[in-house]
Symmetry: C2
Subunit: 334 residues, 2 copies
């Protein structure tokens, strides 16, 4: 195994978020389930956008957020995802590149627009996501740069990537390369409905391919179809090297065989928008892991990063994360 040129290579649906405040009533009237990501087509996207309030556009995509987070921590991050050559696509490319993430995937040329996610943030800081996948459906195995995967310490995929058919093939190709090259494969289960759509395959992936699994409480319970967190915990610890289970204000649990860490959530004055908490937790954790930190410290880094992101609007840090982490150094000692 040659020396790595990347710490984390993230692969996912390349999406620009359109974030808007919303009232509960708006969701109810449209039959939208709060806190859930659902896929919509172009026509529904147009209709919903016309109805929703003024927005703020920010480059997003779950795995892309994680790549940006790793970069902000000072890690070497790469990203594979498909945008179009339209304005949103250029914005996405600019933003992720300027965050220091290596992003070289060729753009879609079919004319399908860049994906967007219409995010409705309610007063309780929950985000309800409506994703038009657009150009993402054109990501395929040819977009997986084998050398990039082989050169990354960890290749991190979002469960959402399992939705578009061609991306699934890309996903399998990337995981196969991590095995061949002795690198780590990591998966985020993305959301409980995503797990519902792909449960059998996600279980198979977790058992045979995934070295580092990220899931929140709902997702891991959905994966094993059990009714409480502890049951899910007992299931998962036999099935992948490291499982990282996040539980919002209850903190997180990191488990590797018999080693287990129960990490508190970082104190947050006021939760403004939960968007991106899981993505940033993964960024902090993977940054630590690729630096060789012990698992407890990795978890605390994840919790700190997640705590920062939920205290304001949008899935990108507002602060200089490196300075933030330096200031928090005392919290990170073993």
């Amino acid at each position: 195994m040659s020396e790595s040129s990347l710490d984390v290579l993230a692969i996912g649906n390349a999406i620009v978020d359109v974030i808007s405040r919303s009232e509960d009533q708006f969701l109810t009237q449209r039959g939208l389930d709060k806190g859930i990501m659902r896929l919509i087509d172009a026509a529904e996207g147009e209709a919903l956008y016309a109805d929703m309030g003024p927005g703020m556009e920010v480059s997003g995509g779950s795995a892309a957020n994680t790549a940006v987070g790793v970069g902000l921590f000072g890690g070497r991050a790469g990203y594979i995802g498909k945008v179009s050559e339209d304005e949103l696509g250029k914005t996405f490319r600019h933003d992720i590149s300027r965050a220091g993430v290596r992003f070289e995937t060729a753009p879609a040329v079919s004319g399908t627009p860049t994906a967007r996610c219409l995010i409705l943030v309610t007063e309780d800081a929950e985000r309800t996501m409506n994703t038009y996948l657009g150009a993402c459906v054109e990501l395929g195995p040819d977009d997986i740069d084998a050398e990039m995967v082989a050169a990354a310490q960890v290749t991190y995929l979002e469960g959402y990537l399992w939705d578009p058919e061609e991306a699934k093939k890309a996903f399998r190709k990337a995981f196969a390369i991590t095995k061949e090259s002795g690198r780590r494969a990591s998966l985020s289960l993305s959301d409980p409905f995503c797990v519902d759509r792909h449960r059998a395959e996600f279980r198979e992936l977790t058992e045979h391919y995934v070295d580092v699994l990220f899931a929140n409480e709902d997702e891991i319970m959905s994966l094993y179809e059990v009714g409480d967190f502890d049951q899910a915990l007992q299931h998962v610890r036999g099935h992948c090297e490291i499982a990282v289970l996040t539980r919002s204000e209850k903190g997180s649990v990191v488990v590797r065989g018999d080693e287990i860490h129960v990490i508190d959530a970082a104190p947050v004055e006021r939760i403004v928008d939960a968007t991106g908490a899981g993505d940033m937790y993964a960024a902090g954790f993977l940054y630590g892991l690729t630096r060789g930190f012990d698992l407890g410290r990795c978890g605390r880094l994840g919790a700190l990063a997640a705590g920062e992101i939920i205290s304001h609007f949008g899935a990108k840090p507002e602060i200089d994360v490196k300075a933030f982490i330096d200031q928090s150094a005392h919290a990170l000692q073993a």
Copy 2:
């Protein structure tokens, strides 16, 4: 004078902001003067965008922000400004319309892109603005809907509108209609460099056309080329009906002939981004004025709105302003 159908009609350069954190060094290296708006051409815009960090796109434009603010307060607001039919233009149209602002200006069809303002926000919360005017230069007298102006209690123009040649004609047309129809004309001086560019004309406007003038300390001192605030105050009080002079943390001064109000700034925990403070002050003030509130209360409404906007990123309120104002009712009593 028939009954008004609008409280405030704002006219300005229709711009989408691209907001990004920046270090002081980035400004120094590029010779950018902190806190200033400067005009750039398309090529310079491309080059600067390529260099700046990941951004967040939010519909902006000084007068447009004010119109949105008036709408959020519950006032009836309209807007005239020129966008293109590109993605940014559609975003602008969506955002301002969904904020409840009447916006009916025909889009530019020349192919010139919608204006954007590259805003670099430094650690001290100052914003350095680089504006590519794009389609804004196509706003002309034909875009001024005479009925809309005649039906608005106040027509509010930003000084920036004096930069594009055709917009200047539109500006004069709008002011003339306010006179003919017995409505109020209001002007924001926008920024001290804008005043430098157009001092003689701004003085003439202030003396003969403007009923309600908005200016910050630097702008009003630049207008009269005097070295301290009090001198500027003595000049301006003879020259327009109402002058509203904002002074950042020193609060604001509202003057109408012999009547003078010295208003404290609203307490703010931490200033994150000064973008839009003046625009929101004007929104609060004009909302109050068109409700018939006394000038002191108008000033306190302006100060509250400005205080909200500077405590987070971007020029749009993150809170439900109406609820915020209700909560602050005690601060608004005469």
